[in-house]
Amino acid sequence: MIRETIALTKRELLRLARNPQAIATSLLLPILYLLLFGQGFNLGNLAGRGLPPGALTALLIGAPTYFSYFAAGMVGFVAVTATLFIGANVIFDKLFGILKRISSTPASAASIFGARLIAGSIQPIGLAFLVLGLSIALGHLGLSGLDVTASVGPVGALEIVLAVVILSVMFASLFLAIGFSIEQPQTYFAIVNAINLPVLLTSAALYPWGTMPAWLQNVASYNPVTLAVEVIRLNLFAAAPSYYAYSAGVYLLGLLGWAVAMNLIATVLARRALGPRH
């Protein structure tokens, strides 16, 4: 079981490494957002034009600048956009007969699914930390950058890592669940588009919390992207804890609940797709 999972994970990673265009595409999106959207959409300028001091920090629930708030949000954003492709890969592997070959071997459904989950989570995890690093670096290059105002200790760092990992695993599970249940790429992309935008636009990844209407804040508080982003913001911004109802651990637990539920659903669907057809 372990040997099969390792062999299949290696296969997924080899394929990823041999597809530099896909890696470039997945890098492009967060880089464009940070370099263009983050720089252009600068709420700090509004603050300079009449907002009372401290009002911006209140709107951004503890973040010193909109870019800082947004950079933490982008970590959640990339977890969604970078896990997309692993569900699509399942469909292409079905179309090219590769999944048929793999399921004709004694490899268990758990290892076939597990390998894709591991390989599929690695890229978003890597991207998430690239986003954090790049955002901090931009601040040192005379552009808007991520301004970390809290001192991040080992526990905080661990919480951030956990939030990124759990969120990536959750979305990887979601997209694998869809990939294993769908036969046609066009159907997959239609469904994924119908999920992606609503998930991102009902989260607190991009909007300043203080400008969101109460009903949207309510919806967003249950959104897994929000939960992960809250853990990150709580650890990066010194003023944040006073604005949040719970500690980072509570948000992490909520996020874990999402991930476990999604993983269970995906496992059931994958097992069904990999077992004998009826």
Binding site: L8, L14, G97, I98, I102, S103, S104, T105
Partner: protein
């Protein structure tokens, strides 16, 4: 087949039935036994139910009813043990194009739990044997059709299974590629006493390579036997006698030759059926000479599987006759899915 179940190396199908979506009858109850070390051919046109039968016996598809026993194991009850003991080569290409030939085989070896200590030697040996050694470290998507097929075969036997299922393994290969592929299969059978179950719609392939054949049409087995037996059931050989000029009186003369069972006429030539044509040719020629009829030529033909197929199905062997039952089932599924998606 009473008493103990056939074990090592046997493939047994007992009244296997597969119906898709309750209405598409892909396989309508097939029963057969493949003995250890035998090459057993499943011959039939597209859509006859060959691939569906293979899928049921290799634990890829659940039978609607009936039993499949492979290497002494019930496929429905012990699918993973069955998978461990068999090799499968599918009709479509399933090699991973983004991996090299060697990586494809190493992956297959890991999935079949080939001991690590043997892995390298096994993979190198197969690459050599299948003549892909030089291309071993190239991505499989750069391989020619024949090389890909040989890679598929290598991946199917990397764990040295007792039983090998080949589903239309030479589909789309040129004659040279087909001959090359079969050379390896025959070697495997010789060296490892492997049982081989092969589906094909190439009549010549079934004739040349298989020890026994089942002819399947519309999901039912219509005849089984060795290629020779099947042809014998047609009533023997066909001797064609072509006179130099029309000879209307020759028919009764030929019919009177002892051993000739029937006489037919086609395009001015006489087609004689007889049990053993070779020994009758002298007597037939003598009868023509005795009747004063000059001969342009005499030919002897063992009946081909083409004629066997015609005899047992009442139709010419058809190559492509629209979608297969599996295709139809998939299409129905897709239409349903789209419909669901729109609601």
């Amino acid at each position: 087949m009473s008493g103990t179940l056939p074990g090592d190396g046997w493939i047994v199908a007992q009244d296997l039935v597969k119906t898709f979506n309750g209405s598409v009858h892909a396989v309508r109850g097939v029963s057969f036994e493949v003995r250890p070390g035998e090459i057993y051919g499943f011959l039939g046109p597209n859509g006859a139910g060959k691939t569906t039968t293979v899928a049921m016996l290799t634990a890829g598809l659940e039978a609607t009813s009936g039993t499949g026993l492979v290497d002494g194991l019930d496929v429905r009850r012990e699918p993973s043990r069955v998978k461990r003991r068999i090799g499968v080569v599918f009709q479509e290409s399933t090699a991973d194009g983004d991996l090299t030939g060697r990586e494809n085989l190493e992956l297959a070896a890991a999935l079949y739990s080939v001991p690590r200590s043997e892995l390298r030697a096994r993979v190198d040996g197969l690459l050599e044997r299948m003549q892909i050694g030089e291309a071993a470290d190239r991505l499989a998507k750069t391989y020619s059709g024949g090389m890909r097929r040989r890679l598929e075969l290598a991946a199917g036997i990397v764990h040295a299974p007792r039983i090998l299922f080949l589903d239309e393994p030479t589909l789309g290969l040129d004659p040279q590629g087909r001959a090359g592929f079969w050379k390896y299969v025959l070697e495997l059978r010789r060296d490892h006493a492997m049982t081989v179950f092969v589906t094909t719609h190439y009549l010549d392939e079934a004739d040349d390579m298989c020890d026994r054949i089942a002819i399947i049409d519309h999901g039912t087995i219509v005849a089984t036997g060795t290629p020779g037996e099947l042809k014998d059931r047609l009533g023997g050989d066909i001797v064609t006698v072509r006179p130099t000029s029309p000879a209307p009186t020759l028919g009764p003369v030929l019919g009177a030759v002892p051993g000739v069972t029937s006489v037919g006429q086609q395009d001015g030539a006489y087609r004689l059926k007889c049990a053993n044509g070779e020994t009758l040719v002298p007597a037939i020629v003598a009868a023509c000479v005795g009747a004063g009829v000059g001969l342009q030529g005499v030919s002897l033909k063992r009946p081909s599987l083409d004629e066997v197929f015609l005899e047992f199905t009442g139709r010419e062997f058809r190559e492509d006759e629209g979608p297969t039952a599996t295709d139809r089932a998939v299409m129905v599924g897709r239409v349903r899915e789209r419909f669901r998606g729109r609601r």
